[in-house]
Amino acid sequence: MTMTSPTTNATLTTENLAVTYTGNREVEAVKGVSLEFAANRLTAIIGPSGCGKSTLLKSLNRLHEIQPNVEIGGDVRLNGESVYDADEPVPEIRRRIGYVPQEPTPLPLSIYENVAYGLRIHGDYESKADLDERVERYLRKVNLWGEVEDRLDAPGAELSTGQIQRLCLARSLAVEPEVLLCDEVTSALDPVSAETVEETLADLKEEYTIVMVTHSMDQARRLADDVVFLYLGEVVEANDVETFFENPQHERTRAFVDGSAIPTTGAVDGEANGDGDGNERATTTDTEPGEPVVAER
């Protein structure tokens, strides 16, 4: 595998993407989503808890496949090439479409080896000096180098959660992905750490195509170029950030942005969602996402 430099202009599109959990009870978490994540822009996916945000994100690089009982429909295309019908092995796809988990998760390795890990498994470095240089480059990129340069051999787990989350970003960037998927990367952090991670993301969006799940509307407003509003597994509205917040095209978006109850009639064929005003402005203290609790009974 030859090494790829950070490719700019990577566009990710979904075509009728559907994800169904086929466990004890069948749940269609994502229902026929067609979207375009534009190159070198940060797209925020927002929506109430359990609307399928995380599921959609993980299906973009086939990460949901690591859990059993998931069925997929439609396709995802990276620069026009199919992700689900690809010739290359799945790990190669995940390397091109990187993923940063919600929980700050250090690998059980040193700070240095955390960043070097991806490079080592892909064999993407010429020499030890080259590896050193790259580890430093990506730690600088996430504004962490100054804080860790004198203790690179210390366990990654000994950093603070905010530092660990930036370490995770550096680790993901080191394999030089074309697209970066971020799953609520600030929701487990204290406000100060969250701000440093946000600043890092703001810098990164110049160079990468970033898709970020968040349930903080303020964060979407601050960081995003484009916003996708997902509700009950369907896209209600996808627009650039100004239009989305200042001039929403759909009644539901307006309700969500205003923090009032989302109307249950209209584009989405969801009956009374039950939790009427339970969908106020989502805060970072909201419930655990991930599990599909899409309106089902």
Partner: protein, 288 residues
């Protein structure tokens, strides 16, 4: 009698403390008696554990019990290595994404049954094999029996350790483009403190077990001569010594117990140190 909430709390406190004290007291007593009586033997005859037995050792306490010390090392050492490799591989298979959850649960149920199986059953099982193949009891079959005995213990420990490793680690490595195998390796790394503890526990159980080797290793009273020659281990020796008519041989049982207890304690301490070093790297390690 109706007790108020605080009286009940105090009562439970005393009961719990009493139970803990009882267990500790029994443990201290066992260790203290072994060290005291075994120590006395060592003071009069310090080389007893490294002196080969005389031809009339069991009758007249001639020489020492080096044969059993060596037998224990040569039987339990290789058995632990073989069993650990098999156990860690099995647990990785069960916990990784190679096997389905239902299959893992079924296998774990069988492993729990095996764990609870009395070791004498393994001894008899291996003995039937020995008879079936027309071999004789030997060091080799002692290794086989001990390895079978250790396997479920180590596998369950490793499985639990891997299960406790956070799922997010797997997600993170897969997200970097790791293969299933690479992800399994990282998970093992994250679970290493627990895995080391499991292997040491298997070793400790193996070195202390008499029933498995009783029928399989040959209960030899001579120095082990080769892998297919009879041998014995410390627990079997202690059993034989304790039944001796000779009071001096019986006192040697304490000396042999002393060696056994010191070996197990030393091993557990070493594993704690080793596990502590790896625990620093485990996610959330700084809290533990």
């Amino acid at each position: 009698m109706v007790l108020d909430r605080y009286a009940r709390q105090r009562l439970f406190g005393w009961l719990a403390r009493g139970a803990a004290a009882l267990v500790v007291a029994v443990m201290v007593l066992v260790v203290a008696v072994t060290i005291y009586r075994g120590g006395r033997v060592f003071i009069t005859d310090p080389a007893i554990a490294v002196t080969p037995p005389g031809s009339r050792y069991m009758l007249e306490a001639e020489g020492g019990f080096f044969h059993a010390v060596l037998g224990s090392v040569f039987i339990v050492g290789p058995a632990t290595v073989v069993s650990a490799i098999l156990a860690v591989s099995t647990a990785i298979y069960l916990q990784s994404d190679y096997s389905s959850e239902r299959f893992s649960e079924t296998v774990n149920m069988f492993l729990n049954v095996l764990w609870g199986t009395p070791p004498i059953v393994y001894g008899v099982f291996v003995l039937t094999v020995i008879i079936a193949v027309g071999a004789q009891t030997s060091l080799f079959f002692g290794i086989v029996a001990i390895a079978i005995f250790q396997y479920p213990i180590m596998t369950r420990y490793t499985d639990e350790a891997l299960r406790a490793a956070p799922d997010t680690v797997r997600e993170a490595t897969y997200g970097l483009g790791a293969t299933r195998f690479e992800t399994a390796l990282i998970t093992v790394r994250a679970a290493l403190p627990g895995i080391v503890a499991g292997i040491v526990m298997g070793f400790a159980r193996g070195i202390g077990d008499a029933a498995t080797v009783l029928f399989t290793a040959g209960r030899s009273t001579n120095m082990p001569a080769g892998p297919f020659e009879p041998a014995t281990t410390l627990p079997v020796l202690i059993f034989d010594q304790a039944m001796s008519f000779n009071a001096e041989v019986r006192s040697h049982a304490y000396a042999a117990s002393f060696v056994l207890i010191v070996a197990v304690l030393g091993l557990i301490l070493a594993s704690k140190l080793l596990a502590g070093r790896y625990a620093r790297f485990a996610p959330g390690g700084r809290h533990s």
